[in-house]
């Protein structure tokens, strides 16, 4: 077993995997890495299952020291990572010798970095996943939903494969987000439909793992009030103030606000790398086209060698 001791952390540094499934009907949220693409690449670099437990580091402020020789991999945002005094860029695996420190300073490109270890970091499986959901006291290293904290430890038991580097570590962020049109979209005013897809939206600072608010021209829903129903990942709900909220991994499982549809998984990964204040545009797509694009994208993980 190899271990890391956590010397600095924030409430935004969390152990994550793909999230909890098969329990949504019990009111249990999904959880899981917000940028699933970067999580997958971090794991891919070590030959792990793509959804093995990783550390999601949002914005920085995270430092670990190796208690033993450790093989690790980093993908996602450039959060100004250093191994001791040597800068290390995302998209590669690397070694921490005993006593060496890995620290994340501040965001230079993107918002979330993913740190992987051979076989995934050790954590108990709670309701089928070790995804940390603080609100529900589920997952994480202790199993009870605690964020990673100073003085805590991370361990892994797997053995590493070859050292890998991504030829073109891509971090897609912002710009255009694809919305699968659906749900109550037909009940918004014509002007609102035009505004939704033809104006810029600014990311509000009111953003967390439950949802991100988009600021712009208010959208007007004209349909009847809704009875609460299941909410999918990426749903864009529009509360009465007309400012849309993209619902993310830690969202509530059912809700009654009208929705325009839902972001595609690839767009969700891009959104996860956006910082407050960034501008995005929404682009309408149909479910079948988005599905084909997604399946094609997934092939990258098996083709990249």
């Amino acid at each position: 077993m190899s271990r890391l001791i956590i010397e600095a952390s924030t409430p935004l540094c969390l152990l994550q995997d793909a999230g909890r499934f098969g329990v949504r009907h019990l009111g249990v949220t999904q959880g899981g890495a917000l940028d699933w693409v970067s999580m997958s690449w971090a794991n891919w670099l070590l030959g792990n299952a793509l959804d093995a437990p990783v550390v999601e580091i949002t914005l920085g402020g995270f430092t670990v020291q190796a208690e033993d020789y450790c093989l690790l991999a980093l993908a996602g945002a450039d959060l100004g990572a250093y191994v001791d005094e040597r800068a290390i860029s995302p998209g590669r695996s690397f070694i921490l010798q005993k006593g060496q420190r890995l620290r994340f300073t501040q965001p230079f490109n993107g918002a979330r970095a993913y740190l992987a270890a051979p076989g995934g970091f050790d954590a108990p499986t709670v309701l089928g996943s070790c995804a940390t959901v603080v609100r529900e006291a589920l997952g994480g290293v202790d199993g009870f939903g605690k964020a990673l904290a100073e003085g805590g430890r991370l361990a892994y038991s797997g053995t590493g494969g070859a050292m890998k580097v991504l030829a073109k570590p891509e971090l897609q962020s912002g710009a255009s987000l694809d919305v699968i049109i659906g749900a109550q979209i037909g009940r918004f005013s014509g002007q609102s439909l035009f505004d939704a897809f033809n104006t810029e939206w600014a990311l509000d600072s009111r953003a967390d793992r439950m949802g991100m608010r988009l600021l712009g021209t208010p959208l007007h829903y004209q349909g009847p009030s809704l009875i609460s129903e299941g909410i999918p990942l990426g749903a864009i709900q529009v509360p009465p103030d007309g400012q849309p909220i993209v619902l993310l991994n830690d969202r509530q499982t059912i809700g009654g606000y009208p929705r325009l549809g839902a972001l595609t998984p690839l767009s969700l990964a891009r959104l996860a790398q956006c910082l407050p204040g960034e501008k995005v545009r929404l682009a309408p797509v149909v479910q079948e086209a988005a599905h084909r694009q997604h399946i094609k994208f997934l092939q990258r993980f098996s083709q990249s060698l």
């Binding site: 499934f21 098969g22 329990v23 949504r24 009907h25 019990l26 009111g27 249990v28 709670v126 309701l127 609100r135 529900e136 006291a137 589920l138 699968i180 049109i181 659906g182 749900a183 009875i227 609460s228 129903e229 299941g230 909410i231 999918p232 990942l233 990426g234 749903a235 509530q252 499982t253 059912i254 809700g255 929705r259 549809g261 839902a262 595609t264 998984p265 479910q287 079948e288 988005a290 599905h291 997604h294 399946i295 997934l298």
Partner: protein, 234 residues
Amino acid sequence: MKPCIEVVAIDCLMVRLFEVIAEANMPWMLAATQRLRAEFGAALVDLVPSYTTLMVHYDLTQLTPTQARELIDLALTDLQPLAQGSGQCHVLPVWYDLSVGPELTLLSRRSGLTVEDVIRRHSAHEYQVFALGFAPGFAFMGLVDEVLATPRLNTPRKRVAAGSVGIAERQTAAYPVVSPGGWNLIGRTPAKLFDRERDGYSLMQPGDTVRFEAVDHAEFIHLGGDDTPLEAQA
């Protein structure tokens, strides 16, 4: 019943079965749940029921949207309502008391009933679990006697004790864990509503029925209840 299927995400379809909340929906909802689980098998990721809808989340690496629609059509073909009683029936002991259910007074005033009658009405009915949501194991139950229907508090409480039993409009529920909440509180149950060690985790599942049974303070404590008054819990 005329079900319709709506696109809601890349890998989710909403099956809309009804337009209004009614207890009579339940036998159909349960039947549809059973059939959908059977048709989708291992390709089903999650099936999220609510009052009038079932959201089908399938594995997009196994099914195309068209195939998923076909499976839903197949599942709903010749659907017959499940007989009543196919869900479990639970009896939840409740200590109805002002110290843990401060809105007993409000409900009494609004309804013109005595507090004792409010309790009697709430515990006389057998409720259906329409959906779970808000928090793990939080079951939305109904329908509460019209005379007890009361809107949510204008200002939600920052902290509602675990086990608190409340009413919002014609729904009733019990809080599985300490959380913020805006329901009108009328009592507290010692029942453990969500337990990660239990098979199935949640005491109540959609489609189950629930009856509340008034117990006195001694019985509440005997059953493991925490009688700390609401205001005293900082």
